[in-house]
Amino acid sequence: MLLALLLPIPAAATNPTERTFHINASRFEYSPAILEVNPGDQVTIELTATDVVHGLSIDGYKLATTADPGQTARLTFIADRQGSFRFRCTVTCGNLHPFMIGKLQVGQNTLLWRAMLLSGLVLVGGTWMLKK
C-alpha cells in the first residue's frame, strides 16, 4: 500500500515558457550538466562540441542530436514529462563515453521526496511491526 506513494502524480500547473540552454560538450562532460525547467516549457538545447564529436539523447524523451567539433546542433521539445531524466552522449568519444551523463530536471523531483518519505515510513512502520 505504501508503494502507492511511488505512483506518477500529475504535474502542477505552471505558465509554460520558452527556455534555451547552451551546452558545451567536451570529453566526458556537459557544461552545464544540470538543466532545470518547468513542466510544459518549450526547451531548446544548443549543443556545441568543443573537442570531438558528441551527441545528446534524453532518457524517456526519445530525442537525440549530434554535434561535430566546433559546430552547434539544436534540439527543441516540449518538457511534457515531469521528473528527473538523464541525458547521455550518443557518439563514442573516449573511455568514459558510456558514462558521459547530464540531468534534465522537469519541475520538482517529487519522486525523490516521496522515496525519502517512504524510507522513513518503512523504518518506522517496520520497527512498529517488529515490536508487535
Binding site: L6, D59, G60, I101, L123
Partner: protein, 476 residues
C-alpha cells in the same frame, strides 16, 4: 602443511559452533538438501560437469585477456570491457551472489592453473609443486581484500573503461594466483587477496545457499577428517559458522565417506542477525569483515557518484590518474571509506552500546552490528547496477559481432549501439530495491539489539542516512 592434529581449534570446533552465540541459533525449519535430489546428485558428485564449466570460463578468461590487450582501444567496442564490467559484473551482483552466494567462486577460472600445479593433476591428485607454506597470521582475514577493493575504486574510471588496463589487471591477477599457490598452501589468493572473493563472501551470508554438516556427532567420531583434507580452501566444514568463506567447490561432499554433508537451500539471510560472543582473536578477525562491509557501502556511493551521476568534473578527476584532480578524488574516496563511514558507524555502535545492559567490548559490538550492513550494501549494489549496466546492455550484441573491434561481422550484420530505455521503470525499481535493503537491515539491527528500539535506533539511523544518500545519487 600442519597435520590435522596440530590445529588447536579443531577438536572444539563443533562445540564452539554453539558456544559462540549469545543466543541459541535461531530455529530455521526450512532446508532443502540439494545433494539428496536424485538427478542433481550425480552432477555434484562427479567432477566433470564443474570441470567443463570451469574450462569454459577459463577459455573465456584467456579470450578476455587477449581481446583486452589486442582488441579495440575503445572500451565500448571491446569484448573485455563489455563482458567483464557490464555482463559478468552485473550477473555477479544480480544473480550469482543474491541467489547463490559464492557460487561464482565454484566456477571461477583464476585459481585453476594454480590448483593444478599445487595438486599435481587436473582431476586427480599427483605429486604437486609448491612450498605449501602457511599464510602469515598477520595477513589473515579480509583486510587485504578490502584494500584490493579500495584499489579498484581508486582506479575504477580507468580500469572499467580501458581495455588494455583490464587485460593487464587480469594478467596480474592470474599471475598472482598462480604465484601464491606455489608458495602458500591451499587457495591463499582466493581466501585473502581476491577483492571479488571478499565481495562475494560477505554478501554470501544473505544468500539462500549453504554447505553444512548434517550431523556433527558423526564428524566428531570420524578420525580421517577427509573433508578437511579435500577442501582446497583449507576449511573444516564442522567449523563453518556462516557461508562467507566456503567457495562451494563441493570437494568436501565428494570426499565424505559418511555422506554427512549437505548443500542446502535455506531462507535468505540465515547467517545474519545472530550476536556472537567471541574471544579476542575472533573479535579482531570479525572486525575485518566489518571494515569490508563498510568499504562496500562507501564504494557503492562512490561508484554511483562517478558512473551514474551528472558531474563530469568528478568523472574527469577519477579518470586523470596521477593528476592533482585525481589526488583530490583519491583523498575524498579514501576519506569516505577510511574515515567518514567507519567513524559514523562506530559512533552509531557506541550510542547503541550506551543503552545496552550487557556491554561487550566496542570492537566486538562493531563486529556484531555490522551484520546489519549486509542487506543494505547488497541491495545498494543491485540498485546501482540497474543504472550502471541496463542502459549499456545494447553494447553486448555489438562486441559479440566484433569482439576484437577489427571490423568482423560474426553475427552476420553490422550492429550499432542501441540503448534500452529503462527510464520508465528504473527509478521506481531502484527505490523498491533500496527499501528492501533498508527494511531487511533494520530487521537485522532490531534482532541484534534484542528488540530494544533505543539500542537499534542509532544503527537504523545510519542505515537510513546511507539509503537517503543512495536515493539522492540514483534518482535525484
Amino acid at each position: 602443511m600442519k597435520s590435522l592434529q596440530e590445529i588447536p581449534w579443531l577438536d572444539q570446533a563443533a562445540a564452539n559452533e554453539n558456544q559462540g552465540l549469545l543466543h541459541p541459533r535461531r530455529i530455521v525449519p526450512w532446508r532443502l538438501n540439494l545433494y539428496r535430489i536424485p538427478w542433481l546428485r550425480p552432477l555434484i558428485e562427479s567432477r566433470w560437469p564443474q570441470f567443463l564449466v570451469r574450462s569454459l570460463t577459463l577459455a573465456g578468461f584467456v579470450f578476455t585477456i587477449a581481446t583486452g590487450l589486442s582488441g579495440s582501444i575503445v572500451g565500448s567496442h571491446n569484448f573485455a570491457i563489455i563482458f567483464v564490467w557490464i555482463a559478468w559484473w552485473s550477473a555477479l551482483k544480480l544473480v550469482f551472489i543474491p541467489l547463490g552466494g559464492r557460487s561464482w567462486c565454484s566456477i571461477c577460472p583464476i585459481p585453476l592453473p594454480g590448483d593444478w600445479l599445487q595438486q599435481g593433476g587436473i582431476l586427480s591428485k599427483g605429486r604437486g609443486l609448491g612450498l605449501n607454506l602457511h599464510w602469515p597470521k598477520r595477513l589473515k582475514g579480509s583486510w587485504l581484500q578490502s584494500s584490493a577493493f579500495l584499489l579498484i575504486g581508486l582506479f575504477s574510471a580507468l580500469t572499467l573503461t580501458a581495455p588494455r588496463v583490464t587485460g593487464w589487471v587480469f594478467v596480474a591477477l592470474f599471475g598472482l594466483a598462480i604465484g601464491l599457490s606455489l608458495v602458500f598452501e591451499k587457495r591463499a589468493f582466493c581466501s585473502y587477496i581476491c577483492p571479488i572473493g571478499g565481495f562475494s563472501g560477505i554478501y554470501a551470508q544473505t544468500a539462500p545457499v549453504e554447505l553444512r554438516v548434517i550431523d556433527k556427532e558423526i564428524c566428531a567420531k570420524h578420525g580421517d577428517k577427509s573433508c578437511y583434507h579435500a577442501c582446497p580452501w583449507g576449511l573444516y566444514p564442522v567449523a563453518l559458522r556462516d557461508s562467507a568463506a566456503c567457495g562451494l567447490c563441493m570437494e568436501c561432499l565428494r570426499a565424505c565417506p559418511k555422506d554427512n554433508l549437505a548443500l542446502n537451500l535455506r531462507p535468505f539471510g540465515t547467517d545474519i542477525g545472530k550476536a556472537r560472543t567471541a574471544n579476542r582473536l575472533d573479535s579482531v578477525r570479525s572486525l575485518d569483515a566489518s571494515f569490508l562491509a563498510l568499504v562496500m557501502l562507501g564504494s557503492a556511493l562512490a561508484f554511483t557518484a562517478v558512473f551514474v551521476g551528472p558531474w563530469g568534473w568528478l568523472k574527469s578527476a577519477a579518470f586523470a590518474i596521477g593528476s592533482l584532480r585525481w589526488v583530490g578524488y583519491a583523498a575524498a574516496f579514501l576519506g569516505l571509506n577510511l574515515i567518514l563511514l567507519p567513524g559514523l558507524f562506530s559512533l552509531a555502535v557506541w550510542s547503541d552500546r550506551q543503552s545496552s545492559k550487557v556491554r561487550l567490548p566496542l570492537k566486538q559490538e562493531i563486529a556484531n552490528q555490522s551484520q546489519a550492513l549486509l542487506p543494505l550494501g547488497l541491495f545498494a549494489w543491485i540498485a546501482f547496477t540497474v543504472s550502471f549496466a541496463l542502459p549499456k546492455l545494447g553494447y553486448v550484441p555489438g562486441v559479440l559481432n566484433d569482439p576484437l573491434g577489427w571490423g568482423w561481422k560474426l553475427l552476420g550484420a553490422g550492429y550499432t549501439f542501441w540503448s534500452p530505455d529503462v527510464s520508465g521503470f528504473s527509478s521506481v525499481l531502484q527505490i523498491i530495491l533500496l527499501l528492501i535493503g533498508l527494511f531487511w537491515s533494520a530487521n537485522v539491527a532490531w534482532r541484534l539489539a534484542d528488540s530494544d528500539y533505543r539500542r537499534a535506533g542509532p544503527i537504523m539511523a545510519f542505515c537510513l542516512a546511507f539509503s537517503l544518500g543512495m536515493l539522492w545519487l540514483l534518482i535525484g
